[in-house]
Symmetry: C2
Subunit: 264 residues, 2 copies
Amino acid sequence: MGELIFIGLGLFDEKDISVNGLEAARECDVLFAEFYTAKLTGTTVGKIENLIGKNITVLDREKMEKQDIIIETASNKKVGVLVAGDPMAATTHLALRLRAKENRIKTRIIHGTSIIASAPALSGLHIYKFGKTASIPYPRENYFPTSPYEILKENLKNELHTLILLDIDEKEEKYMRANEALKLLLEMEKERKEKVVSNKTLVCVLGSVGSKIPKLRAGYLKDLSKEDFGEGLHCLIIPGKLHFMEAEALVELAGAPRGIIEEI
Amino acid sequence: MGELIFIGLGLFDEKDISVNGLEAARECDVLFAEFYTAKLTGTTVGKIENLIGKNITVLDREKMEKQDIIIETASNKKVGVLVAGDPMAATTHLALRLRAKENRIKTRIIHGTSIIASAPALSGLHIYKFGKTASIPYPRENYFPTSPYEILKENLKNELHTLILLDIDEKEEKYMRANEALKLLLEMEKERKEKVVSNKTLVCVLGSVGSKIPKLRAGYLKDLSKEDFGEGLHCLIIPGKLHFMEAEALVELAGAPRGIIEEI
């Protein structure tokens, strides 16, 4: 009997996997991985293979979404699918799980650390005060969605913080930088004109979350959009209403101007 | 020079810790843990000590919040603080981190799998469609907050899903059961009368998330409030507007009545 195990790799390097995940991966007959929905910037496929002690077949978007190779292999083998972050955050993986179920293949999920919880935790902002998460895609010809602006507007109205994830273009090896994203937010403001974002908006930039030395900077959009936050994946948090201890955390841990404490 | 490392233990048993977390814990001079903000129901302190190969001093709420013993030890030793879930989800840990910073003690965070991301992932509901998270506390004399009702109402209005965490009373070793929580939601409805919750509300119950055999059941409140979801920590998800694949997931993976697909 086959089995399909979704194994989360976590956020940054090969050792972000849980001990349960590592043990399960070592027991699999075949390991697949995909890195287009999320990516570990602190390691390589070779290092992950070394830690697990098995070869990994990396699938591109097309093969992953077609699913056939995974379903066929899992029909009579124990198959692990390695995914950065939590292994069930993207619709692709849910679709694969449903198809496995349809084919009477047993499935199991081994969770991984996820940016959804880790970025708020690192920022010092209270995780229970986050609203809906937003994502900023790379603009393409005739495609410049302002849905992140809409989400941000709604969250701010409800005094909630907003986590904003940034696009990954795995094929081109492009990972949206925080300052690109901040400029896109200002462009959305120019288009929508609802006074949601400005140069004076307090923002928090996170880079390489999960690494030994993650980057965490808070300040006004105007200032941070000039900064370079280096390698690794970036994301943004736009704080809503701040509690005193949250403001203190942004000042002490993220270098925000002390004035934000007085503004509360 | 001392150091304070916050290490996430993840959700269920001692092997939910990441390889990075395990290695860091093994390098610490002193290990503290607290289990009143969150709890691993699939293991014991002894098993965690065995895996790490070191003794752990478990702190009660009072000692943890006073912080002194941790700060004093970390002033000249490498100290690990083990916390279930992500180690920075509760204000207590942020307060400790700020005090360490004040005392010029270096801090580091090793993230853990968190119910905030894992419960949505397991449910099959799209994580980007969750609004603010709610928590239901045990009612006490003259204390029956309806804030979870308020959060749910707001999320439903915005067509968002709501994750609801349930109270833990570590001293009394009481963990709120899903059916208790469902009854409390109905009581809130009786008090507020804003037609947010009823016996016909579609709910999703999760138990022992992170274990090999997590519990996942979806159905109408009336039916699920009669079921016993066994040992382990429980939480709830009240779905907002469902996408077709989400409804399919609730039917196929969580046993929801097939009618919910037609209702979309």
